[in-house]
């Protein structure tokens, strides 16, 4: 076992983790990034299709600026957001984000005359190199900035536990280098968890292979408070086939250089969603789409797992191809572009909720543990927001570092974690099941009982299934072989334990929120209930379990303007 020491250990190599590392490096703080996948290549950040313009950037009008803020608060977060944080974030995006990225070399797509190409409409956006692929050069730049700064990275290394000091504060991580099969302990003064917002907890999910709710599960184990964990976002138009493409979206956002965007039709061939016509303010119209789809599903003209279609058959191919990658999946399936539509389905996307943080510092409820990006329980989506979190957490850690001593090696915890992982590294008998089978069963159960629409009965039944999985399947889980190096089956086993814990917490949180709000749809509570639920759903760990609390949101800039209303009739 290797023991490394640093000032701050960052778990996750996406937009938030990388930017936190770069900011701490600038402040001469030693950091180590531990990434389950590859820094800047795995995770959700590479999926950023385009980048939203805020404030008065690139000729944005006062109205554009206000629209962007309104979109973020209403459509993107259904008012479950700290509006003061949103304002600070907007100012930072306007003054720092774009200039800093461009100075570092990011190429914002120009036309031949040198104008930055934007999407027209009420809310404008730009692209890094090409729309649909902006996250790739964006994160590639981050990867190279990390190399340039010589920040050490442990890649393809899964953090399996947070390590605590005697007083319960977090001061290190225990990790498994999956290629070498070796344990690594990183001791630090503070830990930043930035493991991302998409998990592969549902049968269809935009979360990438390595995502399994690790951040939620590990933070909960050390006592971190959670917020709004039930608030799950969905993509409404991802490719229904092949299975591998479940996160291949027919992007509904406005296209660069065009007045049009993708449209969706039901099984009868009738259009039921077209962002530019139906709700131009819903720049990222995922929830508006989902509500439109729910009505189609109720009328029997679509299913959540397919039977409806999306595409660009109302556009010219040249118009779509000019600045976007949107034609690539159609063509690769051998379809005619843009005449043919592709069959689409719903996919679990961001989780709006996560670990409860102080939005001034990104500190969690556990001293020494900070959270940045999608894992945080305070906002949702957009690579710009995740990046801003990286900045705030760096400042937050800097402000608190003198109160956190270097962590001593916690021998007992390390021994326990080692024994836990060794127990998972066992072969299965004739009655045994493979970790992948347990993962598949969990995802199928979540899709069926904790999917787009749920109610108390389905959620209670889901809790029963979790119990069965724990008592039966988990006990019988075993591997084919016990080699330590490049043993993905071992990683799957570690994942499955985290998935069970994360799912259980999500189900409890879903039971607690007794309303429907945006993408969170309860059959038994169909109304959006601002009178009682315009509040964070806080889950606090107690000595004998947990308890829920509410924390109301301040509404300084935007207010919903109604007390209760059927969620499907609410625009956002």
């Amino acid at each position: 076992m290797q023991v490394l020491t640093t000032d701050v250990v960052i778990v996750g190599g996406g937009a938030a983790g990388c930017y936190a590392a770069l900011n701490l490096h600038r402040a001469n703080v030693k950091t180590i990034i531990v990434c389950k996948g590859l820094v800047g290549k795995s995770g959700a950040s590479i999926f950023a299709g385009n980048l939203v313009l805020g404030g008065r950037l690139l000729g944005n009008t006062e109205e554009n600026a206000r629209n962007t803020a309104e979109f973020l608060i209403k459509y993107h977060n259904q008012f479950l957001i700290d509006q003061h944080w949103a304002r600070r974030c907007g100012q930072w995006i306007e003054n720092v984000y774009y200039p800093e990225l461009e100075e570092a070399g990011l190429y914002f797509r120009r036309d031949d005359a040198g104008n930055v190409v934007t999407s027209p409409g009420k809310i404008r956006s730009i692209a890094a190199n090409v729309q649909g692929n902006s996250g790739v050069p964006f994160m590639d730049l981050r990867r190279k900035q990390i190399i340039r700064a010589k920040i050490p990275c442990l890649e393809e290394t899964a953090v399996t536990a947070l390590l605590c000091r005697a007083d319960g504060s977090v001061g290190g991580v225990f990790a498994l280098d999956s290629l070498r099969g070796e344990y690594i302990v990183v001791l630090a003064r503070a830990v930043i968890l930035a493991t991302g917002y998409s998990d592969r907890l549902h049968a269809r999910s935009t979360g990438t292979r390595e995502m399994s709710g690790d951040g939620i599960a590990m933070a909960w184990r050390v006592g971190a408070t959670l917020a709004n964990l039930e608030m799950q976002w969905w993509h409404t138009n991802d490719a229904a086939y092949p299975p591998t493409w479940q996160r291949m979206q027919v992007y509904p956002n406005p296209m660069l250089g065009s007045e049009k965007s993708a449209r969706m039709v039901n099984s009868l061939g009738n259009e039921f969603f077209n962002q530019q016509q139906d709700d131009p303010l819903a720049y990222g119209p995922y929830t508006v789409q989902l509500k439109a789809l729910a009505k189609e599903v109720h009328a029997g003209r679509a299913r959540y797992d397919g039977g409806y279609f999306a595409g660009f058959d109302h556009c010219d191919a040249a118009e779509v191809d000019a600045y976007t990658t949107y034609g690539k999946s159609f063509r690769q399936l051998g379809l005619r572009f843009p005449q043919d539509l592709v069959e689409t389905a719903v996919t679990a996307h961001y989780r709006q909720g996560g670990i409860d943080v102080d939005t001034q510092t990104m500190a969690s409820s556990v001293p020494g543990l900070y959270v940045a990006g999608g894992l945080g329980g305070h906002s949702n989506g957009l690579i710009g927001l995740a990046t801003y979190d990286g900045r705030v957490v760096a400042d937050g850690v800097l402000g608190g570092l003198d109160r956190l001593a270097p962590c001593e090696l916690p021998q007992a915890q390390v021994g326990l974690e080692q024994r836990r992982l060794e127990r998972l590294l066992c072969t299965r008998g004739s009655e045994g099941i493979a970790p992948t089978e347990l993962k598949t069963r969990i995802r199928a159960m979540m899709w069926e009982k904790v999917g787009v629409e749920k109610d108390a009965a389905s959620l209670r039944s889901a809790l029963g299934d979790i119990e069965t999985f724990r008592l039966d399947l988990l006990q019988r889980m075993g591997l084919t072989r016990t080699a330590r190096a490049v043993n993905y089956e071992w990683l799957d086993a570690i994942d499955a334990v985290n998935m069970l814990d994360a799912c259980e917490l999500i189900i409890h949180s879903s039971l607690e929120r007794k309303e429907s709000r945006g993408p969170f749809m309860r059959r038994d509570f169909p109304d959006t209930d601002n009178a009682h639920w315009l509040a964070a759903n806080i889950m606090r760990k107690t000595e004998n379990g947990f308890r829920f609390e509410q924390r109301a949101y301040e509404l300084p800039f935007f207010q919903p303007g109604f007390a209760t209303k059927n969620n499907l009739e609410v625009a956002w």
């Binding site: 461009e102 930055v116 390595e210 493409w245 996160r247 291949m248 690769q332 493979a434 490049v486 993905y488």
Partner: protein
Amino acid sequence: MNATPVADGDARRLGQTENFDSLVARNTRLAVGDTVTVRVRRFAPEAGAQLQEFKVPYQRAMRVLDALNWIAEQAATDLAYRWFCGSKMCGTCAVRMNGREVLACWEAVEPEMTIEPLRNLPVLRDLVVDRAPFERKVASFEPWIERVAPYAGFPEPLSHKEMKSASKALDCIGCMSCYSACPVIGLGELTRFAGPAPLVQLGQTALDPRNDPAKVARALAQTDIFSCVSCYKCEEVCPAAIPIVTRVIEPLKARAAVLVPAMARHSNVLRRIVAARGRIDPGALVLGVQGLAALRNLPRIWRMLLRGKINPLRTVLGLKTAAAAAARRLLR
């Protein structure tokens, strides 16, 4: 089965039509209910390599990665293979399918497939290769922008015309398919050629007009780029459809010829001769590249004379052909 015509000017797809290997054909060859026979090259340091065969039920629009996922869920749960995004963005799932490099998440399955790991990189287990040699090479180029002039503020003056080649290189997802397909890399230590994938990564900043030419020169000096034989294998396999030779390697060679002329001696001499004479003159080329040292190898000179390869009189007199004016115009 009907062949789809090749799109105009799409040289990389030539040959595929004759083989009924259009995208439509590849997507319609199999139907749900069919069986896909997959032979996977399994390798473990402790057990060596062997091919293992699996019968996989065809699923609608099935990709190579779907077949691997099925195997890892149903048949060989210890199969080691790398992937993250499943949608042509992370660039980690490239393998060889029936001898050609494909991105597993992107390529349709074939009725019979042999799946092997990428070449030219150490194999760790099954289909998982060690990316470290590639990453080290990319890092050694210091692939970032260093500005000569201070940054002008957002948005800085820049046009897509200036970024056209760099923009193509920015489509790179670092999957290393081209690195595996490159025959010059396949020669191992015989050359110091950086390989197509690292060159594309370098091209992202080296072909960016904002970058300091002195810095670009330092990176290019390490590439041995003139060992590229322009065979277009890299372009053929690139899942991101980057014109690697025409839009990255050739422009980089042109930059090298200007910024690091010593690297491009052969090319520069050849160009000078053709521009001056309207034809190639082997004698002048050998003298131009090797200098007077070339004269020491008398047996070789004798052989070349006998075979009519060189004509000292013509070399010395510097005779032009009628094509000289046209050559100068073309090479300008």
